[in-house]
């Protein structure tokens, strides 16, 4: 899978998750599960590139990091009320 296709897939996975379950952020492991035919390192590199392009953002869970769509779901600043749908 070339990098652009992989990036597209990653975005689709995250968009789908956010739309369906209200889970706006996911772990690398979740991405791997959804895109089993890609190598974990390639997924990581592609996801990190998407962050650099501003299409994804990181979210800290304390000891780990998740990926989410900027502006969707729980914000980076604690105490920020989740916007009403």
């Amino acid at each position: 899978m070339d990098k652009e296709t992989l990036k597209q897939k990653i975005l689709e996975v995250i968009q789908k998750k956010a739309a369906s379950g209200g889970k706006s952020k996911i772990y690398l492991k979740d991405l791997q599960r959804e895109i089993p035919d890609a190598n974990p390192r390639d997924i990581k590199n592609a996801a990190n590139e998407l962050v650099k392009e501003g299409k994804l953002e990181y979210f800290s869970t304390g000891s780990t990091v998740m990926y989410g769509l900027p502006g969707v779901g729980m914000g980076l600043e604690a105490g920020v009320e989740k916007p009403e749908e």
């Binding site: 800290s60 000891s63 980076l76």
Partner: protein, 432 residues
């Protein structure tokens, strides 16, 4: 400038007395001198914690600066009305120079930066080894990063599911026992793995620590997923003259570490020979000569620690690689376990890097979310990890003792004829 608001801190003030350096005094004086509301507010909030016996901090989702998935820990006060100057109080992890040597010129400039853009409060150092800049607001994060990289040639350390900042003991810079160049190895690995250090790559955190000898002054064996501990494979070097000087009382045992108590005259038999865990040493009182059966030595360092002028690690030096240490959460604490008994380490340490990549590939593919390497090794079995994953030879050095149960998961290919059997043939021999 707005009027400074100082808070009453009667409980914290109790920590200004006593001989040990008082952080309360330090922060109070600093805040006074630099007219910093954040310092007064953080003491005020801490006083409130002392009163409530509860923390007043909340976590936030911030991870780093643009393009980085680590290096910043987001913190927010739950007392924003009372202590507005610390409504946000984020931590910046700055990657320390190997073995934590500095020059005042660099430290001062870092202090200037932090006075300007943060609370002026720091940790030297954080548990993982980074310089910790404690307390700034969200809007300063990018500027701090620009200042660090442009004006200080410094960079952020790791956090989250990244490689955490590698750390080492003082190594060859000052220690005669360093069997490997811990600082160079740490620097080289840190530079080589910049991407993994700054961007999430793994199911959980991954720590690398490098100690120069089995005394393990950075606690690599207890704290790092990948522990590199210097060791030697040949004979301990003996200076018999110096041994006699210890026996004769001219040299102080253990470099003088026991100087404030009368333990009686140094007794080489009692203090060295009898304490040797492998009983591989012999002191010939007549000859006044020390013998070491090096083939039996397990390199615990005790004799070398006691007689540093007389004994030194051998010349065939390298490292033992152990993997899997972690703090107790979740499956219980683990110490690192021996994986490579002896590896020779020469720059640019490609053998080491390849081994690390191999481990990462497997962990990234097979590790569960928030599963440390040590837990993964337990789950798949140390034997499978060593043999199937890393392609290494199983050795008695890998275990303290062999298993006591015979419940061995044989592989089909190991069993003659495989597992597909001819039932009809069996029944010919054993009518049902």
């Amino acid at each position: 400038m707005a009027e400074l608001k100082k808070h009453d801190t009667p409980m914290l003030n109790e920590l200004r007395g006593g001989p040990w350096p008082s952080f309360v005094d330090d922060i109070y004086n600093y805040s006074e001198k630099h007219q910093k509301q954040a310092g007064f507010d953080v003491l005020g909030q801490m006083e409130l914690s002392y009163k409530h016996k509860e923390t007043h901090w909340k976590h936030g989702g911030i991870v780093g600066v643009f393009g980085y998935g680590g290096g910043v820990i987001g913190r927010y006060s739950d007392q924003q009305d009372k202590f507005p100057a610390i409504w946000a109080f984020h931590t910046i992890r700055v990657n320390q120079p190997a073995a934590k040597w500095y020059h005042s010129s660099a430290l001062r400039k870092l202090c200037d930066l932090w006075d300007h853009r943060g609370s002026g409060i720091v940790n030297l150092h954080g548990s993982t080894g980074d310089v910790i800049l404690l307390g700034t607001v969200t809007e300063q994060l990018e500027y701090i990063f620009y200042d660090l990289t442009h004006q200080l040639k410094m960079d952020l350390g790791g956090s989250g599911s990244n490689l955490r900042t590698p750390e080492c003991c003082m190594g060859m810079s000052r220690c005669e026992w360093a069997c490997i160049d811990t600082q160079d190895i740490t620097y080289e690995l840190t530079m080589h793995f910049q991407d993994e250090l700054h961007r999430p790559a793994f199911p959980y955190k991954f720590k690398i620590k490098v100690s120069g000898c089995p005394n393990d002054c950075v606690a690599a064996i207890a704290r790092s997923d990948f522990s590199i501990i210097g060791t030697w494979a040949d004979d301990i070097k003996i200076d018999q003259e110096a041994v006699r000087a210890y026996v004769g009382g001219e040299l102080k045992p253990n470099a003088g570490a026991h100087s404030d108590r009368d333990w009686g005259p140094f007794d080489i038999q009692k203090e060295v020979i009898d304490l040797c865990p492998t009983k591989c040493m012999y002191w010939d009182e007549g000859q006044k000569k020390l013998y070491i059966n090096n083939k039996e030595c397990n390199r615990c360092m005790h004799c070398i620690n006691v007689m540093p002028e007389a004994l030194r690690p051998g010349d065939d030096r390298g490292a033992t690689i152990l993997m899997g240490a972690k703090a107790p959460i979740l499956e219980g604490a683990q110490l690192s376990t021996v994986i490579v008994p002896f590896i020779r380490l020469e720059p640019p340490y490609d053998n080491l890097k390849n081994l690390i990549y191999k481990v990462w590939d497997y962990w990234m593919e097979n590790g569960k979310n928030r599963e440390r390497l040590g837990e993964l090794i337990q789950r798949v079995g140390l034997n499978r990890f060593i043999v199937d994953v890393l392609g290494l030879e199983p050795l008695p050095q890998h275990v303290r003792e062999p298993r006591s149960n015979p419940y061995i998961f044989w592989k089909e290919e190991e069993v003659e004829g495989g597992w597909t059997r001819d039932l009809a043939e069996f029944r010919k021999r054993h009518p049902a």
